[in-house]
Amino acid sequence: MTRNRRRFFALVAVVAMLSMVVTGCSAKTEQSTGGEGGKQPVTVVIGVGAPLTDGAVALGKGMSRGTKLAVSQANESQELKDLGLTIEVVEGDDKGDPTTGGNVATQFTSNQKLLGVMGHLNSGVTRVAVKIYNQGNVVQVSPANTAVDLTKMGMKNYFRVCTTDDVQGPTAADYAYKVFGAKRAYVVDDSTVYGVGLAAEWAKQFAADGGTVAGTEKTGDKDTDFKALVSKIKAANVDIVYYGGMYNTVALLSKQLKETGVKAPVMSGDGCYDPEYIKLAGATNAEGDFCSSIGYPVDKLPKAQEFKAAYAEEFPGEAIAAYDAYSYDAAQAIINAIVKVAKEMGTDKLASVDGKKAIIAAVAASNFEGVTGNVSFDEKGDTTNKVVSIYVVKDGAWVPAE
């Protein structure tokens, strides 16, 4: 009886496996015949690598929306219709975690139709993922990585449309010392590549300006309990607290600090430039907090109104998060490159190794007017648009600081 049953299961398993192999094969043959036709419609994929369920989710979802907007506009354009080309967006949830990010990268590169990756949000994630993309000749354009060393790793496939911590940190420190008038600061980071780098650059400049760094501390990037740290900061009696981290931790530190009666504002980087920060901290607690963010305020850019209108139409009721406009530009750089290569080599060559290498070269040569300003890259892959703005929470919203 048991023996028969076992045999039956074995048979079922073999049949199931065979059927998988057969269907797998047939799917492949279909794909190749589709390519040979040349004029036949071709679908390619742009991957979005971002934290979607864990980590800075509000920012990650915004990145995905920015990309989808750029892609849906491209798909409606006559240029793509003439080429018979359709672009799809595939999301990969990196959870803000380097290990998960590595898995996402492997998944992305194993997808033959995937020609470029818009992402990742966290510098630490990119540090792992970029090597995997490099091996697969997949271009990566990040809207948000600010760690300085990422473009010094010799990865020819890596570009970013945002400026780096060695510009962002010092600009914010100068503001804190010279404009806000802080003399003593407490510096905290969240132990991630992003937070550590940013906090270190800030502290260096603050000290160079003549300020005193009263103490430094580390937290985890998913911590919620800062009570012990708050008591420590309170005892240090400082004018400002700098926290290199994302909104989900920085907002809670701000809340817990203010509730303990600390008056010093919290200052942070671009990872906090999001309405979610104020919601989490509570408007009264967040009032007066600073953050720096890359580029000019969206309102001051010529193409921004156009972007805002299109965004509101595509995603009614969604607020524009910190990196949505950057993601739109990053995706645009990839789309432009795909179109350029498709015209030069034909749509059927896009997914080949030569095609992917040509796309990398085309992104490197980008030069167009994006929502966030001019998009072009230097020989390392850094943006040539090195602008940082300071924002302050006023009446429950981030506004550009004086």
């Binding site: 509000a58 919620t224 009570k227 012990a228 008591s231 420590k232 509730e259 303990t260 919601k279 509570g282």
Partner: protein, 328 residues
């Protein structure tokens, strides 16, 4: 370092310890009776936070009453938001509803995920517990939100405005801290009395010593186990609501770290021993706070776990594990 700073950090630690102790009791109660580690307990702590937030929103968030068809809530909210008696009623309702809902969730989980496996090898219910844990996390992730939700009204106003500090002899304490410490001590004392003094408590102790013999003596084993699975999660839920109010947010995976820490607290105290779990909880909380305050925030977990290892090296059964013969 002034004396008031030491006291302040200790108070931070006792507050954190109170939360750990409440959660640790859930682990230790179940272990004492079933010799099983309920890995889903940290998720019940998380569910407590969410249920509490839901109750607070329904009873005291004008944004909810403004939604279409919810207008009937307005007079109810007016009472709960009136302060004084209304505020006390709001707190009682929040903690009670959260504890009862999550308590019953615990009983349901026991009925469907653990009871069928009671006579299976010990690994089976453990895996089942991990499954329940993943299920609960993903249920919240999919049905509620993947975002970290602020523990406040939609317009950003805090439900409990009493979180701000007051000063006693140069030491800053917040009302919330007092609230947490007092509530957790009262609950712990109540549970201790319940288990050691009442008839049902005796049934629980008997079941933990020898379930089969207790059954022969007329103890309804299933009822006792269900009760343990009600009390543990209910206490965990109270801790979950406190956690939300005190630190200011809830997230679907927020239970993981406190869960591990509370489990550690239960092991330090001697798992299976109720007073041990309380002792372990407070000890761990205070050690963590002092480590963060005097050494470095980055080393707080390292130091906490060094203590765990030291305890296990010198007293493998935990601090109170051997001293007391009974397991509950």
């Amino acid at each position: 370092m002034t004396f008031s700073y030491v006291v302040e950090q200790t108070i931070n630690g006792v507050t954190l310890g109170g939360l750990y102790a409440l959660v640790a009791l859930g682990y230790t109660l179940v272990y004492g009776i079933l010799l099983m580690i309920n890995f889903a307990h940290s998720e019940l702590f998380m569910m407590g936070g969410y249920v509490g937030l839901g109750v607070l929103k329904v009873l005291a968030d004008p944004a909810v009453a403004d939604k279409a068809g919810m207008g009937f809530l307005k007079p109810i909210q007016a009472f709960f938001m009136s302060g004084g008696v209304g505020f006390v009623a709001l707190m009682v309702a929040t903690f009670l509803v959260s504890a009862v809902v999550v308590g019953f969730l615990g009983v349901i989980i026991e009925r469907f995920a653990y009871r069928p496996l009671r006579h299976a090898p010990r690994l089976a219910p453990l895996i089942s517990a991990i499954g329940v844990s993943i299920f609960l996390q993903n249920a919240v992730l999919l049905w509620i939100s993947s975002k970290q939700l602020p523990y406040s009204r939609a317009d950003g106003v805090q439900f409990v405005t009493a979180t701000t500090a007051f000063s006693v002899a140069g030491v800053d304490v917040s009302t919330m801290q007092v609230f947490i410490i007092v509530t957790s001590l009262v609950l712990l004392a109540l549970l201790d009395t319940f288990v050691s003094k009442t008839r049902t408590g005796r049934a629980m102790r008997a079941t933990s010593q020898d379930a089969e013999a207790a059954g022969l003596m007329g103890v309804d084993i299933n009822r006792v186990i269900a009760l343990a699975f009600f009390i543990g999660p209910a206490l965990g839920a109270v801790a979950g609501v406190f956690n939300g109010m005190y630190y200011g947010s809830v997230k679907f995976n927020m239970g993981f770290i406190p869960g591990i820490k509370s489990f550690t607290a239960a092991v330090i105290g001697g798992i299976g021993n109720l007073r041990g779990a309380m002792l372990g909880g407070f000890m761990l909380g205070i050690i963590e706070s002092l480590a963060a305050g005097f050494i470095s925030n980055a080393y707080r977990d390292v130091i906490a776990f060094i203590v765990l290892i030291l305890v296990l090296v010198f007293r493998p059964g935990g601090l109170l594990g051997e001293a007391v013969a009974e397991k509950v």
